[in-house]
């Protein structure tokens, strides 16, 4: 009994797989217009969008020198290392730098 139920759910899963795959293939094949883009998005439940858009995340690499921590998490204890961080902005000097 259990195995026949299990098999029928598995068959339902497979038909879902086929439905979704076919739907996806159709959206890939059809050029995205604003109208069908919206309808595709409506039919898909992707969950909650993270608040920050991916494009707004920071570049990891650059070739600039660092003398402070731009993030709030940098610097040990947040005192000596970051002390003067705000105060030195635009003044051309930083208390913690020689």
């Amino acid at each position: 009994m259990k195995s026949s139920t299990q098999f029928s759910i598995a068959a339902a899963a497979l038909s879902g797989l086929l439905m979704g795959t076919a739907a996806r293939a159709a959206t890939v094949a059809v050029p995205t217009t604003p109208a069908n883009h919206q309808s595709i998005q409506k039919s898909v439940d992707a969950g909650q969008k993270a608040a920050i858009k991916l494009a707004d995340s920071a570049d990891k690499h650059d070739c600039a020198g660092k003398n402070d921590c731009k993030g709030k998490g940098g610097c040990k204890t947040g005192d000596a290392g970051c002390k003067g961080k705000n105060s030195c902005k635009g003044k051309g000097g930083c208390a913690t730098n020689k």
Binding site: A12, S15, D45, K70, G73
Partner: protein, 299 residues
Amino acid sequence: MKLKRQTHAELCELQRRTGSAIMRRLNGASRMQQTWMDGRRTADVVAEFIKPNDRLTSFDRIEIYNRQYWFRLIDCLYDDYRGLHAVLGQAKFNRLTIEYLDRYPSRCFTLRNLGSRIGQFLDERPDLIQPRAELAREMAKFEWAQVVAFDGPVETPVTVDDLLGANPTKLRLALQPYITLLELHWPLDDWSIALKNSANTLRSEASNAVESEAKTAIERPKLPKKKTVFVAVHRYQNMLYYKRLEPAAFAMLAALRDGRTLEAAVGAVMESNEDRDWSAEVQKWFANFTSMGWFCRRK
């Protein structure tokens, strides 16, 4: 011109010594340590290979690099683990990152992977994250999952041809490598969004896309209350999403991820509630998952 030219071995040794000075921990005041590993004065050691100038001693000059090293890497970890920072508070987060970088310095050319072992490290050093060790560990996992979802690899999704005529008792599928399934004991998805929104409201909304700085201390949302949620961290159309899953759907996806057949994975659903009629539900779930391209062929 020196009489004796540097040899390649001497060059290697010089880089080794310089590297150990640059990557050595800073002291409590975020300055270079005054005492070298062997008990000598650091100033004397670095003066052996770094020239002073008219304004700075050898110590001062190498200290610029020593501080840059830590500031750059701690900042990079902060960028990837803002939630963990919020859970621990600044002092603990700073201590954690310093201990982490000391234990697992970067072994990869890209900073993208700098925080890849934070989760493992938290398991090794629960003392650094007390009294919120469990929350901190989950937050770290949740945040690393976002790094993976952001730019992790993608495999070609399964096609209709792969599935037509497939036998559910034999069919094994893989989950896209950019997807992470997480059972969380706090609703960290909602909390992360609230956290990011609270930070964003403090950023100036200058036009024409400029980098702006958080202006004042961020008044962040209170730590979340305990509640178990099942989440898939993934990307869709290259945007980052947190998708809540029903426990049964989560169990099924986890079983497929772990290499079980479709039929066996469905068994995981039935275990949760044998009396429920799952067919329609399961069909809908799978249609949704595959429309997002979640499954690929198992290698």
